[in-house]
Amino acid sequence: MNSKANNINNLPFLGVGIGYRQQFTSELFLNQDKVDFLEIISDHYIDASAYKENELALLKEHFTLVPHGINLSLGSAEGLSKDYLKKLANLINNLNPPWWSEHISFTQAGGIDIGHLSPLPFTQEAIEVVVQNIEQIREYITIPLILENITYMLEIPGSEMNEAEFLSEILERTDCGLLLDITNLYINSVNHHYSIDKFLSQIPLDKVVQLHFVGGHWQHGLLIDSHAYPTHKEVWELMQTVVEHTNLKGAILERDENFPQFNELVQELTQARKIIDSKTKKAQEVLSWV
C-alpha cells in the first residue's frame, strides 16, 4: 500500500467546523469567524453547474474545505466506478485539501444506486474488497483519505467479527485515518446493544483524525441517524472521552435537516470547541508542572 498517500501523522489541526449546506449560506458568511473549516459533499460539485462551481470557488476563497464523499461505494465487491473515481479525483486534486473522507459502506450493486450508505458484512472478504478498492483510489488520489463508520439498521448475517474489529483491520491494512462519527457510534451502540467503551478499546484511537457529531431521533424503537436534531447529551460526553484519548485534527457538525436558527448551530460549534480546547489546556497544565 502506498504509504506516502496516507501520512495521517502530519495533518494540520483544523478546529471545529460544519458540513456546508446551501440553506445557511448567508448566515455562514455572517458568522465566518465562528467556523474554522467546512466539509463539502463531493457529489454536489461533480459535473457541477456553473452556479455550483461559483459557489465552490466562493467557499474555497473563505474557508479551508474538506471533501466528504457519499457515493464512491468503497465496499462494492464489483469494484469502483472508474468514471466516478476520475471525476472525484479531479475535484479533490484541484481543491488540494489536507484530507478527504468516505464511508465504509456500499451504495451500489448490480446497476442499482441504493441511495444511501448500506452496511457491509463484517467479514474478511468485505475487508479485502475495501482494501483493494482503496488501493485503486490511491492511483488517482494521493491526498490522505480518512474512513467513516456508518450507522446500520440491519446487520448482514454471516459476520465473522464485530464492527470494531472490522474497522480496525481496514484501518490497519489501508493505513487510512478514521473519521469517527460519534453520533453513529452512539446510535449503533443503542440499536445493537453494545458497549461504547469496549468499541473504543478495540479500535486504534491514534488513527482518529476527525469527528462527526449531530443528533438523531427515535422511530419504531430505533434511534435514527437523521442529522436533524441537536447533538445528544450522550454524544457530547462521548466527544469528551474521545478527545482525551486521540490526537484529533478536526470536528464537524453534520446537520442536514430541520435547520434551526444559525446561532443554535454556532452554539454547538462553541461547545465542541470548548471540549477540544480543554484537552490542549490540560496538556499545557501538565507541561507547566514539568
Binding site: 459535473d47 466516478y84 450493486a109 441504493i114 448500506s118 458484512p121 474488497v129 454471516g158
Partner: protein
C-alpha cells in the same frame, strides 16, 4: 460468501417493494431465485424482517424527502397525495449518479403530468413548471420557454399564502432568458386573460 451476488441481492431487496415482500414470505427460495448459492441463501434468510423493512422504508423516505425539497411547491399542493404518488412512481424508477435527486424530481414531475390523472390539471402543470427550473443550471441554452394552461404565478401565490388555489384556465407563457456568458436567468410569466 459471494459478496458480489449478496450485494446485488441486497440492493434489490432494499429498493424493490414487491421483491422484498416475496423475500420476506419465502426468504431462502427467493434468494436462490435471485442467483445466490444455497449457503448464501440460507445465511441471507436470517436477515431481520423488521430491520430490513425499516431500512428500506428509510431509504424510500430519504429519497422522497430529497425530491420534496427540490419540488417544494408541488409537495405543498399535493399534500398527502405526494407520498401516495411517489410510492407508485418509485416502483418503476430508481435514479442513479451524482445528480440522482434532480433527475428523480424531473422524472417524478413527468410521472405526475402523464399518469396522475386524478389530481387537478393545474397541479400537474405546477410540477412541470417547478421541474423545468431544475434544467436551468444544467443547460447551455440561452432561452427556455413553455406554454401552460393555468396562471402559474397565481397558483404559486395562493400556495404560499396557504390558500387553496382555484385557478381558471389562463394561458401562460413561462420564459427564462440569459445573456451569453452569464449564469443568472431572467424569468417572466406572462398570462393572457381569457377573452
Amino acid at each position: 460468501m459471494g459478496l458480489i451476488e449478496v450485494q446485488r441481492t441486497l440492493a434489490q431487496l432494499y429498493t424493490n417493494v414487491e421483491l422484498r415482500q416475496k423475500f420476506l414470505d419465502n426468504p431462502q427460495q427467493t434468494a436462490i431465485d435471485l442467483g445466490l448459492n444455497p449457503l448464501d441463501s440460507e445465511q441471507l434468510s436470517k436477515l431481520s424482517a423488521f430491520h430490513l423493512r425499516e431500512f428500506a422504508n428509510s431509504l424510500h423516505y430519504k429519497r422522497m424527502g430529497e425530491v420534496q425539497e427540490i419540488l417544494p411547491t408541488t409537495e405543498k399542493s399535493l399534500k398527502a397525495k405526494f407520498n401516495e404518488y411517489f410510492l407508485e412512481f418509485a416502483k418503476s424508477y430508481i435514479p442513479s449518479g451524482v445528480k440522482k435527486h434532480r433527475d428523480d424530481a424531473i422524472a417524478f414531475a413527468k410521472f405526475l403530468n402523464e399518469q396522475a390523472v386524478s389530481i387537478p390539471a393545474w397541479c400537474r402543470e405546477l410540477a412541470v413548471y417547478e421541474a423545468m427550473r431544475l434544467e436551468l443550471g444544467e443547460t447551455k441554452k440561452l432561452i427556455i420557454f413553455q406554454v401552460f394552461q393555468y396562471p402559474i404565478k397565481e397558483i404559486f401565490q395562493a400556495i404560499f399564502n396557504n390558500e387553496e388555489p382555484k385557478p381558471n384556465k389562463k394561458r401562460t407563457l413561462a420564459i427564462w432568458l440569459r445573456i451569453p456568458g452569464q449564469i443568472n436567468w431572467q424569468h417572466y410569466l406572462l398570462s393572457v386573460p381569457r377573452i
